[in-house]
Amino acid sequence: MNRLLIRKFTNGVAVSLAVIATLIGLFCLGAILWTLLKNGLSGVSLAVFTKMTPPPGEAGGLLNAIFGSLVMTVLGIAIGAPVGILAGTYLAEYGRHSRISSVIRFINDVLLSAPSIIIGLFVYELIVVRMGHFSALAGGVALAMISIPLMVRTTEDMLRLVSQGMKDASTALGAHPWRTIVGVVYPAARSGIVTGLLLAVARLSGETAPLLFTALNNQFWSSNLNAPMANLPVVIFQFALSPYKEWQQLAWTGALLITLTILLLSIVARVTVSVLQSGGTGR
């Protein structure tokens, strides 16, 4: 009887600890979001979206930084997505069972969790040193290298969901493999690939470390890919650590903007996935 009590007691303690752990996790998310809303919302105004980043001690906005972030994210996706989708196609279709594929899969998984600052250093050595100056192009390339492993992984996973029967039907009609992939497999996996794209955009828009020494920063408006370009993450980094009140306020507002964008993208992607899984196309 005593033994049963001890067992029940141990179980109770374990269950309560698990609940407490969950509450701590939720509390952290809540605390971060609350801080962002509290400090960021008060700074949201039209000026944020219409004015440039100000010199120290003056009011201003984040227009050039928002623009720069958009440009470099688009650039990163424009380079990274085709490469990632093609490589994912190889892993899922042509090289599904080949030996080199399992090596590539492994390396890709390693790259997926690799520290992004290393990618920044790599692009610095590769492009910035050679060109002799920081540039938005280098920033875009760095972001592309971060998006490639993401796109490879989601593309392969999504293509594998496409039913063999559909592919066989296409082959039976005399289509070459590439016609089957482009005409049957891609359309069937479209929403899955789009989800992967959304998640990649979400990830890229918050990346700071790879931009620090590739795109650097720019206090002014610039649309020149061959010159340093402002971007939200680096502006937040610089402004938050500054002693100026106006800069710190802009940093909080920028942080709120980035976080809301990313959370929105993640939620949209998640909804797409759940629609997919509950009887959408492909399965």
């Binding site: 067992r7 141990t10 179980n11 269950v15 600890l17 698990a18 609940v19 752990a21 969950t22 996790g25 998310l29 971060i32 085709p82 490469v83 989708i85 093609l86 490589a87 196609t89 190889y90 892993l91 042509y94 090596v103 590539i104 390396i107 390693v110 790259l111 969790s113 690799a114 520290p115 992004s116 600052i117 290393i118 250093l121 790599f122 610095y124 050595e125 290298m145 490639i148 490879v152 070459h176 016609r179 992939i181 482009v182 990830r203 918050g206 700071t208 470390a209 620090l212 020494f213 937040i236 980094f237 938050a240 650590l241 940093a251 909080w252 980035i258 976080t259 990313i262 959370l263 993640s266």
Partner: protein, 320 residues
């Protein structure tokens, strides 16, 4: 005539096939080239520093841009210690959350809590940094660190870990921020791993009268141990390489101190803080040298983690 068009069509299809196949293969090989390229470019960039300092680069604590003497001991030490403490905090919490999500939560709670944890993973690291600096650090400085100094700082053995003034920023604060950041990653892997445990095993244990905790500890944990360790290593890999969040709260001091409350630095924080301001080839090269060390440390940890998770996948497949 029709036959000519037909063969032309077939020839075009063949050409398309060859081009498309080649394009996908090329893209896949690019992934391999990416990893190789990173290693080569970094070693090339770090060569001046590595050739100058040789082995002392690893063992020297001195980091002096004026005399151009650079040693990586302090950042390496800071990287390892912050990640280790972060793991000590994050692993039990992740285990608890994973257990709650898979074994205890009522069905209506599973999804919202699971999504919330995943959203925590989506928050970019710079947000953790700014939050850690302006919210967490003051709280630790005012409420937690004085208590640690008063109560643990006087103990024999572990006392030196908790001595000195409460700076707020420092090794301990960085570790706490890191632990919150890696928590969702470890939780996600653990949850997936636990889901591979066959229901039959759990139900048999419950049928024998086991409590929830006994099922967890005696059935689920032994069955998914490799995958769980893989998840922990994956989290460790993230913690080791995490940059922005740490840069905000570590204090950037190139010192090796016993106290966890003192400012320190990590490899990634040193690079992020100093790279654009580094004057002179040797300084820049030494920072890239730090990057090489980070590459070697994180990639071996992540590779080990992926290897374990791969083995788990295969076993899960073969048991189906």
């Amino acid at each position: 005539m029709a036959a000519v068009i037909e063969t032309r069509h077939v020839a075009r299809q063949r050409l398309g096939e060859r081009l498309f196949h080649a394009a996908t293969l090329l893209a896949a090989l690019l992934v391999l080239a990416l990893l190789g390229g990173v290693l080569i470019a970094l070693i090339h960039g770090a060569w001046p520093a590595l050739a100058t300092f040789k082995f002392a680069f690893l063992t020297s604590e001195i980091w002096n841009p004026v005399t151009e003497k650079f040693g990586a001991l302090a950042p390496v030490y800071g990287t390892l210690v912050t990640s280790l403490i972060a793991m000590l905090i994050a692993v039990p919490l992740s285990f608890g959350i994973a257990m709650f999500l898979t074994q205890m939560a009522p069905a209506w709670l599973k999804r919202p809590v699971g999504v919330a944890v995943e959203l925590l993973a989506a928050v970019p690291s710079i947000i953790f940094g700014i939050w850690g600096l302006f919210v967490l650090a003051p709280i630790l400085q005012r409420h937690v660190q004085p208590w640690l100094i008063a109560h643990l700082g006087t103990l024999p053995g572990i006392g030196p870990l908790f001595q000195g003034p409460p700076y707020g920023i420092g090794i301990l604060t960085a570790s706490v921020v890191l632990s919150i950041m890696v928590l969702p990653f470890i939780t996600a892997v653990m949850r997936d791993v636990i889901d591979t445990v066959p229901d039959v095993l759990k139900e048999s244990a419950y049928g024998l009268g086991a409590t929830k905790w006994e099922v967890i500890w005696n059935v689920i944990v032994p069955h998914s141990r490799t995958g769980m360790v893989g998840g922990v290593m994956l989290g460790l890999g993230r913690a080791l390489g995490e940059t922005m969040a740490v840069t905000f709260v570590i204090g950037n001091a190139h010192r090796v101190t016993a106290s966890l409350l003192a400012p320190g630095t990590t490899i990634s924080a040193s690079i992020a803080n100093e790279f654009t301001e580094a004057v002179g080839d040797l300084y820049t090269s030494s920072l890239v040298g730090l990057g090489v060390l980070l590459f070697l440390i994180t990639f071996s940890v992540i590779a080990a983690a992926r290897f374990m998770l791969m083995r788990m996948d295969r076993r899960a497949l073969s048991s189906l």
